[in-house]
Symmetry: C2
């Protein structure tokens, strides 16, 4: 009756020792891995509820926000993005999406699936939007939401947020910001920038394994949520239901990924210990060290210095070089992962992440040395 | 400029040593926790792609299915439920949901959010649906999907699946089965039962931490998916996109929760080593040991013996006993978690899980001894 056709006799897990310098995941901080192993308790255990409270509080520090409504989504950064969109957008809403790369495009796709009337703005992949372009779009389309990607992981471009909060608030519009690759590594002050909705992931500058996604809503965003006419299409990501678990009610919604939550608590503890300024400076210093080394090797960054994301650098593939071959050789011969280009930039750039635990000049040096060997420079 | 208002000086994580005998999570198998600590690699690393393939193959064994389309959702069991519903249901579809408890109701809610014309069937919480009731509903409503919960976690009732596959297939309807609490612990043969869509979680009979959700689609389910007129509302849970990552294309969709996937591989390896029959028998034996012990103590099970879920037992709260007080005392004085009743059964039953690593008579004995003390019996 029982078939053994698929009864695999698999060996014990035995993963290689990679240095993860791609677009994410980055190598988890060993302290975070230790916390991941914490004894599992129930999702309504009083000790776990305290862990959740610690996380909410430390997320506020890391994001520099007073938002009461701050929590973790039980999924990866993409689930965070979908939670942000699903809750902030109602069918029929006009949503302006600043598409400067792959992840801006993803937001536009999600917003369309959730019934938005999407107005896409585009710039070349490798550039940021000038403020005037965004201002003109908001004033023309009068959107319910303006969505921008702070650090576009596909291009390595940092979108300046200056003035966007004021612009949105003057036009009764929510400012939604993707901070997947900037959170915990790149200066970002949510409240000072007037951001209403933001999300991130755990596996980039936070140096935790992937699997949970920070999410936050400003009081203005909560007002819009309270005025919704139709429920959020996704039950799993419905913030109103989630907030009853993370908030005072402690009502069961789903079984939180307990051990992943432990890991994220430790990541945030490390951010609090190190301090945001020191952490941002560390990411910046490591990136500058990398940029210098690349330049010494005759390699070019794809993005102008003033718009570069410190945690994610796009490097132009020199003429005649097999982009994928280099990625493969770095992995096979040097145990170093970097990422290829995505979408429009496939084959044209490599993406190098110096994130979280890996944001150190020694790490950059390891890559530079290996890259010199592979490229014969 | 940087505010330290929320810069928490939290202590290192220090969780208590709970015996988790509630409705889930259960205590992870120590081998699974070791695998969880595996070295993180990238989500497109060739070594990780092999881990994914191992998992797909072992899921087929554990579910006894030949389904090509079998993978893990990057979320908890509730995300698995939502993925099943979001993909199988198109707006306007008639969906018959057999609501025998809290989780059947959750499916009905999700299906409604995804635009289904939901026909709810109801039985008292603690009973299973007779085949005739389900047959009459399918023949009357001619639904696109019949959804049943195999092991209803809120009531401890096992819904027999006999004849449902044939019934659905004769009526051009998909059979969708929630196997969150049965998968890996209770006899379930997907193909033999004609199940088209099934999902589960990781933190119950699989004895892994929560955070990933097995999901499978039969060829019939895939035909319906291929005929969809509107895309799946959820981008994160869109199977067509997910299958391009888990299938031959290996196209990036989201960053898989790498370490949680390691954990699930080890859980499935343990299932393959132990063998399904032995595993089911172990869960059954532990449950019978518990039921006997409860009866010896003068406590009554809520469900008739022939419909009891071995992995989740509902115990009636004796007249005059403070249900929540007992739960609290077991936790505080004995470090044992059991769950209270949900919904209609709140305050009326306790829910005791003997799942995965905990499905042993010694574990049942620890609870019985503590319960006797707390109840003064």
């Amino acid at each position: 009756m029982i078939s053994d056709a698929h009864r695999l006799a698999a060996g014990a897990l035995d993963m290689p020792n990679r240095l993860l310098l791609g677009a994410g995941p980055s190598n988890p901080n060993p302290r975070v891995m230790q916390a991941l192993m914490g004894r599992t308790v129930g999702h309504l255990d009083p000790t776990f509820l305290r862990v959740m409270d610690d996380i909410r509080e430390m997320l506020r520090y890391a994001w520099q926000t007073e938002n009461e409504h701050t929590l973790l989504i039980s999924g990866t950064g993409t689930a965070g993005m979908e939670a942000a969109v699903a809750n902030a957008v109602e069918p029929g809403d006009v949503v302006v999406v600043a598409v400067a790369g792959y992840f801006g495009d993803r937001i536009a796709q999600m917003a369309a699936r959730y019934g938005a009337d999407v107005k896409r703005l585009e710039v070349a992949w490798g550039e940021a939007f000038p403020h005037e372009t965004l201002a003109a779009a908001v004033e023309t389309h009068r959107p319910a939401v303006l969505a921008v990607v702070h650090a576009e992981t596909s291009t390595g471009v940092l979108q300046p947020l200056d003035g966007l909060g004021a612009l949105c608030h003057a036009n009764d519009c929510l400012l939604l910001v993707d901070s997947v690759t900037s959170f915990g590594g790149v200066p970002l002050l949510l409240d000072a920038s007037g951001v209403d909705v933001a999300y991130s992931g755990s596996q980039k500058c936070m140096a935790a394994p992937s699997g949970v996604a920070p999410l936050t809503f400003s009081p203005r965003a909560m007002d819009k949520l309270a005025r919704r006419k139709v429920p959020v299409r996704s039950w799993y990501l419905d913030y109103t239901l989630l907030s009853k678990y993370w908030g005072a009610d402690r009502a069961y919604h789903h079984t939180a990924p307990i051990n992943m939550v432990y890991a994220m608590r430790e990541s945030l503890r490390i951010v609090c210990e190190e301090g945001l300024e020191a952490r941002w400076a560390r990411h910046r210093a490591a990136a500058e060290h990398l940029w210098e080394g690349l330049s010494d090797m005759g390699l070019e960054c794809h993005v102008a210095p003033e718009f570069r994301v410190p945690s994610l650098t796009t490097v132009r593939v020199p003429e005649g070089v097999d982009a994928r071959g280099v990625v493969r050789q770095l992995l096979d011969d040097h145990d170093i992962e970097i990422s290829g280009g995505l979408g429009q930039l496939a084959g044209k750039v490599w993406r190098v992440g110096l994130m979280g635990y890996n944001a150190r000049s020694e790490t950059a040096d390891r890559l530079l040395k290996a890259l010199a060997k592979v490229l014969g420079r």
